[in-house]
Subunit: 284 residues, 4 copies
Amino acid sequence: MAVYEDRYSDNRPGEENWKSRLYDIIFEADTPAGKNFDIVLIVSILLSVLAVMLDSVSSFRSAHGTFLYNVEWFFTILFTIEYALRLICVKSRARYATSLFGMVDLLAIIPTYLSLFLPGSQFLLVIRILRVLRIFRILKLVKYLNEAEMLIEALKASSRKITVFLFTVLTLVIILGSLMYLIEGEKNGFTSIPLSIYWAIVTLTTVGFGDLVPHTTLGRTLASVVMILGYSIIAVPTGIVTAEMSLASIDARERARPKITCEHCGNQNNDTDARFCKYCGTGL
Amino acid sequence: MAVYEDRYSDNRPGEENWKSRLYDIIFEADTPAGKNFDIVLIVSILLSVLAVMLDSVSSFRSAHGTFLYNVEWFFTILFTIEYALRLICVKSRARYATSLFGMVDLLAIIPTYLSLFLPGSQFLLVIRILRVLRIFRILKLVKYLNEAEMLIEALKASSRKITVFLFTVLTLVIILGSLMYLIEGEKNGFTSIPLSIYWAIVTLTTVGFGDLVPHTTLGRTLASVVMILGYSIIAVPTGIVTAEMSLASIDARERARPKITCEHCGNQNNDTDARFCKYCGTGL
Amino acid sequence: MAVYEDRYSDNRPGEENWKSRLYDIIFEADTPAGKNFDIVLIVSILLSVLAVMLDSVSSFRSAHGTFLYNVEWFFTILFTIEYALRLICVKSRARYATSLFGMVDLLAIIPTYLSLFLPGSQFLLVIRILRVLRIFRILKLVKYLNEAEMLIEALKASSRKITVFLFTVLTLVIILGSLMYLIEGEKNGFTSIPLSIYWAIVTLTTVGFGDLVPHTTLGRTLASVVMILGYSIIAVPTGIVTAEMSLASIDARERARPKITCEHCGNQNNDTDARFCKYCGTGL
Amino acid sequence: MAVYEDRYSDNRPGEENWKSRLYDIIFEADTPAGKNFDIVLIVSILLSVLAVMLDSVSSFRSAHGTFLYNVEWFFTILFTIEYALRLICVKSRARYATSLFGMVDLLAIIPTYLSLFLPGSQFLLVIRILRVLRIFRILKLVKYLNEAEMLIEALKASSRKITVFLFTVLTLVIILGSLMYLIEGEKNGFTSIPLSIYWAIVTLTTVGFGDLVPHTTLGRTLASVVMILGYSIIAVPTGIVTAEMSLASIDARERARPKITCEHCGNQNNDTDARFCKYCGTGL
């Protein structure tokens, strides 16, 4: 989630200068204008996503279809202008256009234009809802980026252990699901191995829809094993992530702990309990 | 959850003095009278909340309607007297009346009086049940306030990370729900995007009501992804809160275990029962 | 879970001596005879519990009623003899009979004798199943007592925080359930506040039976809040217990860390990094 | 999960030499040939497991039965050749054949040959799906073995505590289930104690299928207790595993961060970049 940084330098004359100012407003949130732009943008995104959701409710669409149509075009044109401005003020248009956020920005406007030529509104509706991803720009605004990065770091550090865990879980549900298919069989609704694996996932993750349940004593016994297994092994991903986050918290604490500066050599990195500078040996 | 502290000082003559004693009884739990008052109050709150609950059970109401009506008025008058006493013995009535507990105290009595003029008993019933919030005064009584504050501290310290997490979860359920709407469609009950998002929340949080379930192979595959995702990412809020609480526990432990510093070599890590520095052998 | 310790001393003559040996066999697991007794007892308990379970399955009872009847009397007489032997070999019969395990031992045999005079087999069946509690004697046998005590210690240490948590959860479900009763109402199955609170518990704990689900948009929105709340706040009890267990693990580690003995004063409690005895100041 | 190591030494002449090279390809993943072999093998396993799954889908089998039959024989012959090669290149055939992976390798091919003589395809189908276990060889390939071993270590270290926990959970569900059988009874679907225990497991583990739900007020109250219990005690296994993993993480960290000991005062806590002891100022 590296911040996209591709602006013109501030100290350029003429045309480049207003592009730099535009960049500050659109891409940054340090200036009042930049903050206001972000707020307007986020409200627009939320309203347009809400409009997409309501568009899928048939009773609402039949009652307020024209209104939704107008709202949709209003936001599409707004986001089109915004996209154009972003293209104008970045130095490398190709780099922006192929960045993750650049593609999401484009995806936010394309479906509406496509709907002029294509039917299949349902499919386009779902693409339009991807606009919600643009909301992650809000993280930049409210300084939550730091917490997000810490979370991502912890998840990255534990990704290998989590992969091994998921791998084991998938093997477990394949075997347990197949056993259940053998035990319960088609007459009790476990009509195939893939469906039984789906049931094993529903049960092991403690979701328990209840659309498919065991009816034989043996099946219920195996189901009990699956449930207690699922109830217990959730401790594993939790333990992995927690251990990683505890380490990160302890590290952050360590970094925040005050240090003593040596007056002789200027070393700023002495522990608070040190009586002599660790670099020059001078008494502190 | 700062304790409300707004009493008259103890060493005042005449009228202020009995107000101060009344304040001790009603607002504090240090004196025997104060403790007894709190116990009577808590039992009254629990009984009145129970009465409100039973009032909503139509079979019980039709059988014991008059009894419930009398009970309700009994507790309302009791709480009204209590509210009046609270108003009398605090120094600043406005400050008490606008405090959180002050408003809850008022909310506990208003609905019954309103019911004389307004029908809509169901709505007033639910307001009356907010009396249960008054039970939090019990924390003061049994010295659990300290544990509660520690929990709130840990939650506050991790609130930013939890916000980022909830933010990601909401984005996830919007996208996953929309995809499910596309895959399953109206014929399988996923009649709109908001309903599909509701399904995604039900599934990701591992609740799994089962009122809405996928019927296509692709839908079940996506549902499996949602379930395993929900089963795994619950590790994130748990890890956040646990790391914070572990730090708080270690800190509390550290503070409780003092160490002696050696004056000769500066070693700060001697046990409290040590008589000689463990590094340089100097007497402590 | 203090071990019951009420034996005759070993070095007594005549009658007291065989009682002491009997005590060793029945109450202890250090001798081969004591171990064998415990294994036979545990198998008997498991078989008798299994018999009670099967007794409740009507198809099995009608087919093998006489067999179950005989099995039940066999185990009852066996446990009666065992109970008599326990009474004989303990020093204070009153103390054993009123101890937790003493009462469970008695509960294991009474129902069968009562069934001679009383009908209501279902109620007695459930009392008979309490025999399963006797299985906790197994902990003594297989040296798991230590782990069990560590778990109980950690839970005790966090019991106050967990009480505050449960207290908050109960208040939450009362308010959320009442709101749901107001929103969904009787026409959607939320016929009373107690039932709606039951629904709130089912949803907040992520169980999600699905026998009662919201049907209105507002109800589904509130349900989503309840589910995400339940999904998030499970982090709180987990964090509480984990922090306590981490501390206990660190402590156990500390205790297990080797210490240096001072040759001069005999102090065995010097840290491994100490160069001088902390009590007498002698170089190590 | 010890790695199977039973090869001929590399520096032997003639026949033993090509066996050693074959061993490198089949059992190891260090050489390019070995890596390619593993990739081909894993793809084959996944495809054959997919074929087994599809074989259980009756609509697919009736449409593409011959194709599935051919695919099955193709993979069986492939795995038979592989099994033969494994037998050839290991030094001790008996040891390989009786190892866990050796038996899984055999189980992967036997069912297809048996199907020539035996009907009961469903049973053989499930044995064939055990092939999925062979996929764990992938851990060797992608160096995830280390993470897997760390997880297994942490689980082993906490296995005793988890056993005590599961033991308590089983006792709980037996007693709670029996109580539920008494309260709800046959008329509400709780037809026997084993079924009621199954319900208690479904509820305590927060799975909540909803195929069996309480209908009486008392039953719903007990169910609420079971749910809140299940919601709370999931903290116990999580706490156990997390505490163990945190210790392992801290240890790994500690080992990775060496410290310098001061020869003068014995302080072992100097940073690696220190040139003077932080307590006594002596040069290191």
